[in-house]
């Protein structure tokens, strides 16, 4: 995506914020739709398994999901490439201004959309305003609902509690959540780099989804460093950004031929 910095007024201000800091590219030509990223994300970020009933209501909690679409009319349908959809960490996010309690501010330091769980009061306005539909709401305390535990000798056992990531908050009932670009990994890498007196190097760490991708379709890194892998991939001819016409300035670039 090329940014026209000659735009005036609000659009000019938006264009200035277009670059961002952390970004991602997803190569739809390589993606096989295996859902390894979905599983890895759930493990890394303490995502809850909502159970059958709530899944039926469409309350599944996924910070990344694989979308597929069909082209053409039945019976001449053709599947389009798989499209992993996650929070685009918009530079000009529709979710941010609608929050009445500022629980989803824009991070000035990391240039990400944050979700502050302890501040969120659960109006769900942000999810309604998200054009990518990537936010999920905690309708219950999914990590402790009795129906989702196993009764062993009269005591409730939650076996998955042993795999919770201590670096990520276990969200409670009534708060919104979404992809954070694995901000806990960003902080860890920054902390390590700082303790060694250097800058974070490109490829030193990556998000859980990019790490798990067997086809290496997902690349994560600094988009404001022209020499980083992700920014070189993002500036290819194949790069497209979703719903760009809404001026959301997404940080995720999808690579797709044609």
């Amino acid at each position: 995506m090329t940014v026209d910095l000659n735009l005036v007024g609000a659009k000019g201000a938006i264009a200035e914020a277009a670059q961002g800091k952390w970004g991602m590219t997803i190569d739809q030509d390589i993606c096989t739709g295996c859902q390894a990223c979905v599983a890895a994300c759930a493990m890394e970020n303490n995502l809850a398994f909502v159970g059958e009933e709530d899944a039926g209501y469409g309350r599944t909690q996924h910070w990344i999901r694989i979308e597929r679409f069909w082209d053409g009319e039945y019976p001449h349908v053709q599947a389009t490439p798989f499209q992993p959809m996650l929070c685009q960490q918009c530079g000009h996010a529709p979710c941010e201004p609608v929050c009445p309690v500022f629980a989803t501010p824009h991070s000035p330091a990391e240039d990400l959309n944050l979700q502050v769980y302890n501040r969120c009061v659960g109006t769900r306005y942000c999810a309604n305003n998200c054009p990518y539909q990537v936010r999920s709401f905690n309708w219950r305390d999914y990590h402790t609902v009795p129906e989702l535990g196993n009764m062993v000798n009269g005591t409730l056992v939650f076996p998955l509690h042993n795999q919770l990531n201590p670096d990520v908050t276990v969200r409670r009932r009534g708060v919104m959540e979404k992809c954070t670009f694995c901000i806990q990994r960003i902080h860890k890498a920054q902390d390590k780099a700082k303790s060694e007196g250097r800058e974070v190097e490109d490829g030193e760490f990556t998000t859980a989804c990019a790490q798990a991708c067997p086809a290496s379709a997902i690349t994560f890194g600094r988009v404001d460093h022209p020499e980083s892998l992700v920014s070189q991939l993002a500036h290819q001819e194949r790069g497209v950004k979703h719903l760009e016409e809404l001026n959301t300035l997404p940080r995720v670039t999808y690579l797709k031929e044609g």
Partner: protein
């Protein structure tokens, strides 16, 4: 019915009852607040006063503070490392719980005193690296038996320090260098960003 209730409230007995109710609710609330400020019950009465007074470094028992998020609470083996060489260990009645626990092969389950909620991700390392001493936040351990918090550890307290330490006139020492000023500005952005602690 409601009218009768209000009439009763306005009568002398009713007024006394209201005053008693308000007072008991207030004292209950005060007691609740007081309880949250008390150091928790520990398995043994470990005397920080004595150990720190002897000149043992904080980082000897809590080494994680130098390297990572959690300083760690020592296991009984660390106690035993020194105490097995001290003759008083076998004779003192105060040290008997430790000797018994060591002989039985069970450890202590320390109760952490300075804790942050689950939605706060605190890391000791950058704070130690920034030149803060342990006592800046945890108080003077030569004065307490069981560790206690010298102040309420809440977000305002964190942010006050983060802001004051990134101000240009920190310790009445304004910087005239534009580069240093920009660096402080960048630091303040990072240190007052919600995403630095909440994720």
């Amino acid at each position: 019915m409601i009218r009768k209730f209000f009439e009763w409230v306005l009568s002398p007995m009713g007024r006394i009852a209201v005053v008693i109710t308000v007072m008991s609710l207030f004292s209950l609330a005060a007691y609740g607040v007081y309880q949250t400020q008390q150091p928790p019950e520990q398995p043994i009465q470990f005397t920080h006063k004595l150990h720190v007074g002897l000149g043992i470094q904080c980082l000897y028992c809590h080494p994680g503070a130098l390297r990572g998020p959690s300083p760690g609470l020592p296991t009984i083996n660390k106690c035993w490392g020194c105490h097995q060489q001290i003759a008083k260990t076998q004779t003192s009645p105060l040290l008997k719980p430790m000797v018994d626990a060591m002989n039985a092969g069970v450890g202590f389950t320390w109760v952490p005193v300075a804790q942050v909620p689950d939605f706060v991700h605190f890391t000791h390392r950058p704070h130690v690296a920034a030149g803060l001493n342990c006592e800046n936040c945890h108080g003077d351990m030569t004065k307490v038996t069981i560790a206690e918090n010298p102040q309420v550890m809440n977000m305002g307290w964190c942010l006050n320090c983060h802001k004051s330490r990134t101000e240009d006139n920190f310790q009445n020492n304004p910087t005239s260098d534009a580069g240093v000023s920009a660096q402080l500005e960048k630091k303040r952005t990072k240190l007052t960003d919600c995403g630095t602690c909440h994720y």
